[in-house]
Symmetry: C2
Subunit: 372 residues, 2 copies
C-alpha cells in the first residue's frame, strides 16, 4: 500500500535525521494524523515541525512503544544503536515493519542492508527489519552502482569530505559558534568534536581501531560496501575526514574496473543512472559541491576523468577512473534512503524497487514525483 | 656566506607568500637594512611589517629592478609567473641568485626544481635560478621522501584539502566575509572564487584541461613530482580540492612501494625524516590538522596505516600504505622552502643541503635553529 495511507512512526524525531525524515514524509503527502513522532524522554512535551503544522513528541518508553508500534505500519528509526537494539525488537513483535538508520543491525546476516538503487530487489521478498547503510556508503554506492553493473569493480580508493551534521544538530551549532568566535577573535569552546571544526579539517571523530588504524567510519564503508554488493573480498581503501560544511558530504573516488571502458561509456552509464545527476563542466570549472547538493535528492557526480596514473589499452579504454561526488547526507545519505526503503517494503511489487538490473529512465526517482 | 650577511630582495613582498618570506628572514636574523621589499606599482609608498619595524615598498619597474638586483645577493620571487618571466632574467643578468616561487620556470629543463630535503644536492653545484615547487607538491614530497629512499615508490593516489590562502590574501578575506555573511543570514558575494568558499568545499579553482579533465594544480603535482624525483613515469593520481581553511593544506595519501615494508619500518623511516613531525595517536584520535600545522615549519604526518584494500606478504609486510598530512602552505609549502633554497645556494657546501642520502637526525631543520 502507498505510504500516504499508512501509519508511520519516526523514532528520534527531534534529531537531524529524524527532522529530515518528517520533512520527506510531509513532502510525500503523508497526513500529520498518520505520523507518530517519538523521541527520548528529554523531549517529552515538545513538538516538531511537520509542514505548516506541528506534531507533539511522544516520549519513547516501554509503554508508549507497545502502543505506538501496535498502531504503526512502519517505524523509521533515526536514533542511536542502543535505542535501536532496545526498541526495534518491540516494534517487530507488535507488527510494525522497521527501517533502522543506526549501525545496530547493519552487519547482522539476517537483516538486509539496502540502497534501493543498488539492491532494492531484496525488499521484494519482504523483511521485518531493514538496515539503512552509513551515509558515506550510500552516497558512494549510488554513484558507483552503474559502473559496477556495466564493467565490474575491482577496487576503490575514497577520501571523504564529511559535513559536521553527521554528528547531529549540536555539531552544526558548534560549527557556527566556533566560526563566529574565530571571526570575532574570541577564544572558543569544543563540545561535540575533540578538534576545532571551524576553519579546520580533521580525521573522522569515530573511534580508531588500535590495531588496524582504521576509524569506525572507514570500517563501516568497507564492511557495508562488501555486504551491499555481496562482494566480500572487494578492495576498498577509505580515508574519512570531517570538513567545516553543514550538511552534505563529498567524496574523491578512484575506481578500478574489471573491464576497460571508454570515457563515453563511463559517462553514458552515469547519466542514465537512478539517483545520480551529473555536474561536470570543465570549461566553467563547475562541479559538485556540498552547497549544491544540500536539499537535493540525487547524488551529484563530476570531475569524471581517466586516472592519469594509469594507461589506456590499444582501443583507448582504461580500467581506472576518477570522480568527485557530493550528496546530502541527511537526505539520500540517511532519511530519504530510509523512506524509500519503507515505501518499497510497503509496496514490494511496485516500480519503486528497481531491482538488480540496470533501471530504465522511466524508473528514475525524483523528489515529489514518486510513482506508486 | 650565511644569509644574515647578504642583501636579500623579496619580490611580491605584500602578498601572502611575500609577507611570510619577510617573517622568516626576520626570524633568521637578517637585518632590515639588508632586505629590499619590492611589489607592484600599486603598492608604491606603502610599507610592510618586518619584525618590530617596517620596510618601505619599492615599486618594481625596469629602473628599480636594475638597481635592486645589482645590490642584491639573492632575490626571492613571490610574485606571479608573468612578473617572474619579466624580471627574473634582469635579476640574473645583474648577478643576483634567484629563487622563484611561481610556475614560470618549474618545468624548464635547465632550472633545478628543489625541495631541499629531497634533492637539495642539486644546489651544491650552483645555479643562477632555482624554482620553488607548488605547495601541494612540496608538502607531499617532504612526507614521502623517506619512504621513497628506503622502499621506492611505484604509485601515489592523493586527494588534497587545500586552504584558500593558496589563492592569496584576498581569498582569506573572502572566506571570512562569506562566513560572516552566512552566519548572519545575509546574501554574500564572490570575487576570488567562482564557488562560495565558506561552509563549502570545491574542486580546485585552477583551469581544467578540456581533454584530460585534470586541473592545473593536479597537473603540477604530477609533472613536478616526476621532475623532482627524476622518475618521469611515476604513476600519480591527484584530486585537488579547496576547503574553508585559512592557511595550511592537508592531503590524504595512498602510496604503493616497490619493496614491501613492516609498519615499524614505515614509522621508523618517517620519524627519522628531515622536516617531518609525526602526530599519530590512535587512542586519542589525535592526528594532523591544518590548525596544528599553521605557523609550523615541519610537515605533520599521521593516520599511518596499511591499506586495508591490500594484503600482507608471508612476513607481515605490505607494499601499500595510507597516511594523512597537514603542512603550512605559506611556510614550507612556499616561503620557507624558498628561503631554505636561498640559504643553500649562498652556502652550498654547508650542512644545509642534506643531499640525496638519508639525513641523520643532526641535520634536522628546526625553526630558528639553523646550523650554518
Amino acid at each position: 500500500m502507498p505510504i500516504q495511507t499508512c501509519t508511520v512512526a519516526v523514532v528520534g524525531a527531534t534529531g537531524a535525521v529524524g527532522r529530515e525524515a518528517l520533512k520527506i514524509l510531509q513532502q510525500r503527502g503523508v497526513p500529520g494524523e498518520r505520523v507518530i513522532a517519538l523521541a527520548s524522554e528529554r523531549s517529552a512535551g515538545a513538538s516538531v515541525e511537520y509542514g505548516p503544522s506541528r506534531l507533539s513528541i511522544v516520549a519513547l518508553d516501554d509503554r508508549s512503544a507497545e502502543r505506538t508500534f501496535q498502531l504503526a505500519d512502519v517505524a523509521i528509526f533515526c536514533a542511536d544503536a542502543d535505542t535501536a537494539r532496545t526498541f526495534v525488537p518491540i516494534a517487530v513483535e507488535r507488527g510494525a515493519l522497521v527501517v533502522d538508520n543506526s549501525s545496530a543491525f547493519r552487519m547482522d546476516p539476517t537483516v538486509p542492508l539496502v540502497v534501493p538503487e543498488v539492491n532494492g530487489a531484496l525488499l521484494d521478498v519482504g523483511a521485518e527489519v531493514v538496515a539503512n547503510p552509513n551515509c558515506s556508503t550510500i552516497l558512494l554506492l549510488v554513484a558507483l552502482e552503474p559502473l559496477r553493473r556495466r564493467f565490474g569493480v575491482r577496487s576503490i580508493v575514497v577520501s571523504t569530505y564529511q559535513a559536521v551534521s553527521g554528528a547531529g544538530l549540536a555539531a552544526i551549532d558548534e560549527l557556527r559558534m566556533q566560526a563566529g568566535d574565530a571571526l570575532a577573535g574570541r577564544t572558543t569552546t569544543k563540545r561535540v568534536f575533540a578538534e576545532p571544526c571551524a576553519f579546520n579539517v580533521f580525521s573522522h571523530d569515530s573511534a580508531v581501531d588500535l590495531r588496524t588504524g582504521l576509524n569506525a567510519e572507514e570500517q563501516k564503508l568497507i564492511d557495508e560496501t562488501r555486504k551491499i554488493w555481496d562482494d566480500p573480498r572487494l578492495a576498498i581503501t577509505p580515508t574519512c575526514i570531517r570538513v567545516p560544511v553543514e550538511r552534505a558530504h563529498s567524496e574523491s573516488v578512484v575506481i578500478e574496473l574489471r573491464e576497460p571502458a571508454h570515457e563515453d561509456e563511463i559517462r553514458l552509464a552515469l547519466v542514465s543512472a537512478t539517483g545520480v545527476s551529473i555536474i561536470d563542466d570543465r570549461a566553467a570549472n563547475a562541479f559538485p559541491t556540498p552547497l549544491k547538493a544540500s536539499g537535493v535528492d540525487d547524488v551529484l557526480v563530476g570531475r569524471i576523468r581517466p586516472d592519469p596514473g594509469a594507461g589506456f589499452d590499444g582501443r583507448g579504454r582504461s580500467t581506472r577512473w576518477c570522480l568527485w561526488l557530493s550528496g546530502d547526507q541527511l537526505r539520500k545519505g540517511a532519511a530519504l534512503n530510509a523512506v524509500q526503503i519503507a515505501e518499497a517494503l510497503l509496496a514490494p511489487a511496485s516500480s519503486l524497487a528497481p531491482g538488480t538490473r540496470a533501471p530504465s529512465r522511466v524508473q528514475r526517482w525524483h523528489t515529489g514525483a514518486i510513482i506508486t
